[in-house]
Symmetry: C2
Subunit: 472 residues, 2 copies
């Protein structure tokens, strides 16, 4: 592990997809959407002054069809053709940024016609998709001569809505190159999680573990696909703080994923003990969550409804909690009344692809099949995916168990379960704040493929990984 | 070093400034600008979908006066008072983000009146400063009922221009708390550079060195104050690529700095040999750049013009190159004709503070004293600072020597020096692509204080640091 983690093993360095992957994707798009459309790459987001910017990452639809983060570029499609318009090389920029690709270089590398951006002609009837930031949206609105809003694409209409539906159709099932990219991201994410386990010990800050994990991602030429969660307070679902000092009895919950330069994401969570050994109470709950996850992964099959995967997880969690005596009563009845959400208030997962929540820039258009809507029930309200699974889709499966004060101390939320909830039993598990176990799963024709299976997950494997890192 | 680098030594964990630091700054602002003004913190910049955002970092003027990155907050000043308007805690967000500070908590922590953002009343005559992104600018424009542009504040007028001048006056000379923050950032940056030297060896990618450096920054609770430059191609001045494989004869140029949670920046460059030993040609040029830097740092004195610091560096570089035989002729005459820019085409440094190029969000308003303008001469065109130095200012001093093909192969640029440039001598230094040495320097009443002096810089110290890391 050390050899590859420190980067001297270059087999994990990201391998780009071949140019034909993108020409084939553009061909599929042109077949399904022959009318004219524009896909913008977007612009750098400034940080604290114009020249100090966040690392540029192009819009995902652009990356899907072009494969490279070219700031300010626009892909124009229609009439059977695709043309890439780019800002021409800037003679002044050579000094600061080094040799620039000429249009001819790009044309050759990307196997697409490339023209200077000034030659782009656009008109209001062209279809497009909402960019993420206001500056790009304003630029695009001026080009098109009509208002394009930034942000979520939930309320598109006309040609834009049709284009969005075509992109969802194309991107829902991954081609071989997409699956290969996700596998690369998962492989580097494995190094990150192993590095995090190795770096963990009592009395250090959460930030030290986070740093060890992100080091593996940076060293291997990738970026984080989302803000890393690395915390001793796993009960805060999206905890962005890293200043806590880890106590020997804490669990570390690490939800960290890598993204390839082409933009494809991994999204993995592991929860490990600071001491290197789960206590018996931690192990009991951990094994329950693992059992819940196993049941949920088994339910990931072509033709299965992802809502059923979510319900399988919730049902199994509630029966486990009844078996442990934390809940009293009939497990099925408790699940149906929403008891799972007392300890597992989020959805069991989501689509995974170019975006860690794939295509969430289009609102629920990708996550929810036509005619399906978000539920307001406690069990399902945060479910991000309600589709029947098909081979080629990638999803996360990430059940959890959390003791969340905002839920368990909320008398209104607990009221329906006041007789069912055995707080004395629950209190025995006070050294468990939050456990989440998340893997990336590709739906296959035969069933599924857990892409992240080699990242230590079973308690014995996690403990062995930590023991080895400590040299004992 | 290992103890603190891996974070178990918590003495480097960032220490926040006391609340009174900010109330005193607000008091100084109210004294100099008593009319009503608004300072926005701004909003998160989305990455690839609305819920996946770049880490939030508030606008620098807001951080100067409030000290905390509170998304969506606004500081309102005027009539002798300052009030902080914030988005109230969101009950739903507790689940995802954990316990939220109440307005009363914030009031106590920050020692300022805090009100919900809905109570903010604004009108067009209020002064404000340009936020960095279009989304924040649009929000602010709606609040104020007038257009506020995002981006550079070079062309402000009226109350906004007056407010900008007051902020420049306040922020040009650092108070003790600001200097302490910069020192903290420099201390963590030292760990980063030592970590980078320790991680360097032949046949690894630049990304591995970058990862080791950023690990030290993340582990110590800070962020990068700008995109890290870590490259074997130092002749590309702002090289953002990290995919190169380091060869034994390469130099690594690393321009990397940490930023404290309150937003204060360090900005340090070191250039070290991949092999652990500078070759004699590398050492010759390195020692010349070091000598140039020493002369430039000596010139950093209260009352001195920073343009003179820049010219001291250029003049010393040209005489050194004449001594080496790379240039032929009279050094002073060559310098006056612009020969320094053949090998050192950028400015010798800039203001340092909350922004790594401090207050560059206001264009040249901070960097250039009233009545001074950017020169178009080869020597000075990229100079970011032309002021007389005063105690309390912090600047970088970062001369370099680069063999840049875009300059040296440009017959038009070289024409005036065609007889002076001895290419045979220059070719002897073909194992030097680019060397930059950059320190952070505080102007003091007595002269100056090189804040980054303990980061290995002399060739023997660099080599010893690398040797120790390799355990030999």
């Amino acid at each position: 592990m050390t050899a590859s983690q420190n980067g001297s093993d270059s087999t994990l360095w990201p391998t780009p997809s071949a140019a034909r992957v993108f020409s084939e994707r553009r061909r599929r798009l042109l077949d399904r959407y022959p009318e004219p459309a524009l896909f913008v790459a977007g612009f750098c987001r400034p940080r604290n002054f114009p020249a100090n910017q966040h690392a540029f990452r192009a819009e995902s639809h652009f990356l899907y069809l072009v494969g490279r983060s070219l700031e300010g570029a626009v892909l124009s499609t229609g009439g059977g053709n695709a043309v890439l318009y780019v800002p021409p090389p800037d003679a002044e920029a050579v000094l600061w940024a080094g040799p620039q690709s000429s249009l001819a270089d790009l044309e050759k590398e990307l196997e697409i016609a490339v023209r200077p951006i000034d030659e782009l002609s656009a008109s209001p009837e062209l279809a497009t998709l909402p960019p993420q930031d206001g500056d790009t949206a304003e630029w695009l609105s001026e080009r098109l001569g009509r208002d394009v809003d930034s942000g979520s694409g939930d309320d598109l209409d006309g040609a834009d809505a049709k284009l969005a539906d075509v992109m969802v159709e194309l991107r829902l099932r991954h081609d071989a190159a997409a699956a290969a990219q996700i596998r690369q991201a998962v492989a580097v994410t494995e190094l990150a999680h192993r590095g995090g386990m190795a770096a963990t010990r009592p009395a250090i800050r959460e930030a030290v573990v986070r740093a060890a994990m992100e080091q593996a991602i940076i060293a291997n030429g990738m970026t984080c696909s989302y803000g890393s969660i690395v915390t001793g307070h796993g009960e805060v679902l999206h905890n962005e703080r890293h200043d806590g000092v880890l106590e020997p009895a804490d669990l570390v919950l690490a939800d960290v994923g890598a993204e390839t330069p082409e933009g494809w994401a991994a999204d993995i969570t592991r929860t490990w003990p600071v001491s290197g050994h789960y206590t018996s109470t931690q192990r009991t709950i951990y094994e329950l969550v693992l059992d819940v996850q196993r049941a949920a992964i088994d339910a990931v099959q072509p033709g299965a409804s992802y809502r059923d995967v979510h319900h399988t997880a919730g049902r199994r969690l509630v029966s486990g909690l009844v078996e442990l005596g934390i809940l009293r009563g009939d497990a099925q009845e408790l699940f149906e009344r929403g008891a799972a959400a007392l300890f597992f208030p989020h959805g069991v997962g989501h689509l995974l692809g170019l975006d860690v929540h794939d295509m969430e820039d289009l609102g629920d258009r990708a996550g929810y099949a036509a005619g399906r809507k978000r539920s307001t029930s406690a069990t399902d309200r945060f479910l991000r995916l309600d589709r029947d699974l098909e081979a080629g889709m990638a999803v996360t499966v990430e059940p959890g168990f959390y003791r969340i004060p905002a839920i368990l101390d909320d008398s209104e939320r607990v009221a329906p379960f006041v007789d069912a909830l055995n707080r004395d039993e629950l209190d025995k598990f006070s050294d468990v704040r939050g456990i989440r176990i998340e893997d990336d799963v590709l739906v296959t024709a035969e069933g599924n493929d857990v892409l992240s299976r080699s990242i230590p997950k079973h308690p014995g494997d996690v403990e062995a990984t930590m023991r080895e890192a400590r040299g004992g």
